[in-house]
């Protein structure tokens, strides 16, 4: 509502700008955006606008609105090229992330997405840690009719990843998606394992839960330092969560958000739309007009 309010103010001065910024910042903090990023946004907008310097006649409202939206879009879009699988090549995509963020579910969603577009896709379960992990992937893959590889007896995920990828490469698969166990930066061994599983993937996808709060930044940074992240998927966007915490991953990894998860079913995967995302984050539907200008 804050950004709409600006249209009702008769005079736009530094004080109005301050109130406006305060409201926007509160909305962002409520959406779990990192405190430091919110602080930066506030300063950047202030610098960009410089009320007293604006010559009379210039539409101050427009200038402010544009500055806010530019900053928000900068938060969610790093402006780098998104990974695209290459036809005729063997594209290996590895999934990593915190425990329970939605990796296994999203792996199958993504495989299904590519399969429908005509790619030859398969799944490798390199999670030997979580109870029932292979059954989970197997049941999902079976439902989606996607070939999979995994083992009930082999306990070394590095070994399985290697075997699975080699097998599918030989069989001419174009996209090989590797699921891994959940892990976190505080357990060095888990990170070491991730580095070993990661045998030159063409893309490493970091899966983040939309409900994550202020711990997101440190975790994202640690994941990126251990294994170069190329893309981000934010899951559980079908709920009430705005996903503002997860965008810390964009700043920490300089990687784009490519999809959002919007449910537990296989087709619940949508392309990331910065505009809609920012709107939801601000808790309003009233900036659509602004973004077109």
């Amino acid at each position: 509502a804050a950004l709409a309010q600006i249209n009702k103010e008769p005079v736009i001065d530094a004080k109005v700008l301050d109130v406006l910024l305060k409201e926007i910042c509160h909305a962002l903090l409520e959406a779990d955006v990192n405190v430091r990023l919110v602080g930066n946004l506030r300063n950047n907008v202030k610098n960009a606008v410089k009320i007293q310097d604006l010559a009379a006649g210039i539409n101050k409202r427009k200038v402010i609105q544009k500055a806010v939206l530019d900053e928000l879009c900068r938060l969610v879009e790093p402006g780098v090229e998104t990974f695209k699988p290459k036809k005729g090549a063997k594209n290996i995509i590895m999934f990593v992330g915190l425990q329970g963020s939605g990796k296994t579910t999203t792996c199958t969603k993504l495989a299904y997405h590519y399969q429908r577009k005509g790619w030859k896709v398969c799944l490798v379960c390199a999670d030997t840690f979580r109870a029932g992990a292979f059954d989970q992937l197997k049941q999902n893959a079976t439902k989606a009719k996607i070939p999979y590889y995994g083992s009930y007896t082999e306990t070394d995920p590095v070994q399985i990843a290697h075997e699975g990828v080699e097998k599918f490469k030989k069989e001419g698969f174009e996209i090989i998606i590797v699921d891994t166990s959940g892990r976190h930066k505080q357990e060095a061994e888990l990170f070491e394992e991730m580095i070993q599983i990661s045998t030159n993937p063409d893309n490493t996808i970091f899966v983040m839960d939309a409900t994550i709060g202020q711990a997101a930044e440190a975790q994202s940074r640690a994941f990126h330092e251990a294994t170069k992240i190329g893309s981000i998927i934010i899951t559980k966007m079908d709920g009430h969560a705005k996903g503002g915490g997860a965008i810390s991953a964009v700043a920490a990894t300089h990687s784009p958000i490519i999809f959002i998860g919007t449910g537990e079913h296989i087709h619940d995967l949508e392309r990331f739309e910065p505009r809609r995302f920012v709107q939801k984050m601000l808790g309003m539907g009233d900036i659509s007009g602004l973004m077109e200008t």
Binding site: H26, L29, E30, A31, D32, V35, L98, Q99, G100, S101, G102, F129, R130, A131, G132, A133, F134, D135, Q136, L137, K138, Q139, N140, K143, H184, K185, Q186, E187, D209, T211, I212, G213, Q214, A215, A216, A218, Q219, K236, D238, G239, H240, A241, G244, G245, E264
Partner: protein, 313 residues
């Protein structure tokens, strides 16, 4: 030296202006620790209300006065208001020759099944006979996940008795829970642990189904499993789970969440704010914190530890 003297207020009565900046900083500090934004605001406002007009002791800074007041307030929120002694309660129902039933609920992927299994380990160590009811009949691998845990838990203890009650996928969870409890009763189990599917708090059909499971089976305890990683959503999740238990129950005296397990506590460093958000929102005790992925990673929460982490610069 200068900054030291700058803040000295001596015997002067505290005014709102004195507090404004200190409280603004405190609020931001709490949000950085992952306390929900609105709760941070409320807390700071109520601290301000109590402090305005009070005299600060000589040589005491506003900052330390605020910190002290905040510390007391945090401690009060985090200290359980009801006594929690699951073992004693289970002993009681043993005397009544009926199994004690605990239902684990929460949103997707927070650690319900894993921490149910840790709770099971703890109960087995205390000599109880436990039945696990696989009432997540939706998520792929949910039943197998519990089967692995039951196998592990049986292998761990010499005399442990833990069994899985499952009816596969796609079935009505409330009915399975009912059958499991009856089975538990006939076979002299002390405790029945009911695993449920994860669900988003706004998903009405799924929330109705959960409420039905609860009103049909009347578990002794409803434990909400929430992860320490969660930010502002902690408030919404708990509010809406409670609301759904109330609105969809059709009962005169509807149930609510009786306690919380705060999971993934090992993943957040000192950003422990979710503990506060959850305790503040429900007024219910945090029964355990999950501190890892093995069976022994289930601990009692130390209020002083949380308060210290929250206030630490």
């Amino acid at each position: 030296m200068f900054s030291f003297f700058k803040n000295i207020t001596g015997q002067k009565a505290i005014t709102e202006e004195d507090l404004a900046q200190v409280l603004a900083n405190m609020k931001e500090h709490l949000i950085k620790k992952n306390v929900a934004a609105d709760i941070s605001t409320h807390l700071c406002e109520s601290v301000a209300k109590n402090l305005v007009g009070q005299k600060t002791g000589s040589f005491k800074t506003i900052r330390s006065t605020v910190k002290q007041a905040m510390e007391a307030s945090l401690k009060r929120i985090l200290t359980p208001k009801t006594s929690v002694d699951l073992l004693r309660d289970i002993g009681q129902s043993q005397a009544e020759s009926r199994p004690y039933t605990i239902c684990f609920v929460g949103v997707n992927g927070v650690g319900k099944s894993t921490n149910l299994s840790k709770t099971c380990f703890w109960l087995l160590q205390n000599g109880f006979k436990v039945l696990i009811a696989a009432c997540d009949t939706f998520r792929s691998g949910a039943v197998e996940q519990l089967r692995v845990h039951v196998r592990n838990l049986n292998a761990l203890g010499q005399n442990s008795v833990v069994e899985l009650y499952e009816r596969g996928y796609g079935k009505d969870a409330a009915g399975i829970a009912k059958d499991a409890i009856n089975y538990g009763k006939s076979n002299k189990f002390d405790v029945v642990l009911i695993d449920t599917a994860g669900r988003m708090q706004d998903n009405e059909p799924l929330m109705r189904a959960l409420s039905k499971l609860v009103s049909v089976n009347k578990p002794d305890k409803i434990i909400f499993v929430g992860e320490a990683l969660v930010g502002n959503e902690a408030v919404d999740q708990l509010t809406k789970f409670n609301q759904a238990l109330k609105d969809f129950s059709g009962l005169q005296n509807p149930r609510h969440i009786d306690g919380i397990i705060l999971t993934k506590f090992d993943t957040i460093d000192d950003k422990v704010g979710a503990a506060l958000s959850m305790a503040y929102t429900t007024g219910q005790p945090i029964l355990f914190v999950g501190t890892g992925q093995t069976y022994t990673d289930l601990k009692n929460m130390r209020v002083s530890h949380i308060v210290q982490s929250l206030l630490k610069e």
